[in-house]
Amino acid sequence: MTLKTAGILGLVLTGSLLLAASTARAANNDSIVVNFQVNAFSEIQFQEASVLLVATPPAPGANPAPVTQTAHYDISTNEVGRKITGNIDSGMPANTALRLNLTPPAGATGGGNLILPPTPGAVDLVTNIGPNATVGLNAVFEFAPNATAGVINPSQSRTCTITIIAQ
């Protein structure tokens, strides 16, 4: 073997070792699967436990003025096509009405100042509700007697229920 050949072999060997080092950059992989489940929900609540509505005697010959109280409600939903219905647990005294006007969350449609029927009836207070999380929306209750209602004594109470459901 000549000196020149030995030199070439040395180069070849060095190159081969570099090649080996290069091909030694091995890789291997493994994986995990993440399944993220988002459950449907629609939640609603009044902030206040109760509201008090007191109608005062009107001037002679006039109807009593309606009285209002503003409560607040909170809503969270990740669903589309929801609505809020409302009712009261029993009927109102003759010639009186209890109304509720809910401010709708963004993107929804308010029904206005609507009479609350006794259960099992219900009225659509807000419609077209989509995904949102909103706190402190106005819920204005109005008690509207007329003169023919007479004196309502003792005072009475009604339980108002609002429900968010599919429309």
């Binding site: 073997m1 000549t2 020149k4 050949t5 070439i8 072999l9 070849v12 060997l13 081969s16 070792l17 090649l19 080996a20 290069s22 091909t23 030694a24 950059r25 091995a26 890789a27 291997n28 992989n29 493994d30 994986s31 995990i32 699967v33 993440v34 399944n35 993220f36 489940q37 988002v38 459950n39 449907a40 929900f41 939640e43 609603i44 609540q45 909170d74 809503i75 969270s76 939903t77 990740n78 669903e79 589309v80 995904p131 949102n132 999380a133 909103t134 706190v135 402190g136």
Partner: protein, 175 residues
């Protein structure tokens, strides 16, 4: 004529060299092949979290907690088959989506050193897992029970109810 005579007058050594090159190259390829088959990574386990009304931050009126973390110790990584404590490696991470919501993000974080004769470095700050491989952490030698925290971010009521799936791929590269 001169060119042909020169081509036919090679020294004997010049004939052996190609044979040796071939033999050494085969050995090198075999060594490389052996090294490639050696190092290995194992990642366990799959994770299937869910969110619902119970995850609202403060009940009705509030949004969902934006972040969901895998339970401690649920996901662990193991690196084995190294040639020893001076066999250096790095772990890259990426994801392959199967119906993943674009507003949801995934991140991984190394929560501890694991065990074994080797060592680990980096990965202690959450690394966003994207569709492109990103360096997660590195180390040397065999290392087992490396605890990993997987997190899902961007959760809100704007994410429609459904099941979203992605595969988080961990790749160990011998360096």
């Amino acid at each position: 004529m001169i060119r042909l005579a020169a081509a036919g007058a090679r020294p004997r050594g010049s004939v052996r060299v190609p044979l040796l090159i071939g033999a050494v190259a085969v050995c090198a390829a075999a060594l490389g092949s052996l090294a490639q088959a050696a190092i290995s990574i194992t990642a366990d386990a799959d994770w299937s979290p869910s969110v619902g009304a119970a995850d609202l931050q403060a009940g009705p009126g509030s949004n969902l907690a934006a972040l969901k973390l895998s339970p401690p110790g649920h996901v662990v990584i193991e690196i084995t088959g190294t040639t020893g404590n001076f066999d250096f490696w790095q772990v890259d991470v990426h994801r392959v989506n199967f119906g993943w919501h674009p507003s949801l993000g995934i991140a991984v974080k190394r929560m501890g050193p694991g065990a074994g004769p080797g060592a680990v470095n980096g990965g202690l700050i959450p690394v966003d897992v994207t569709l492109t491989p990103t360096n997660f952490f590195s180390g040397r030698g065999d290392r087992v029970a490396i605890p990993i925290e997987v997190s899902i971010n961007g959760i809100s009521v704007a994410i429609p109810p459904a099941t979203y799936t992605t595969r988080v791929v961990f790749t160990v590269i011998d360096i």
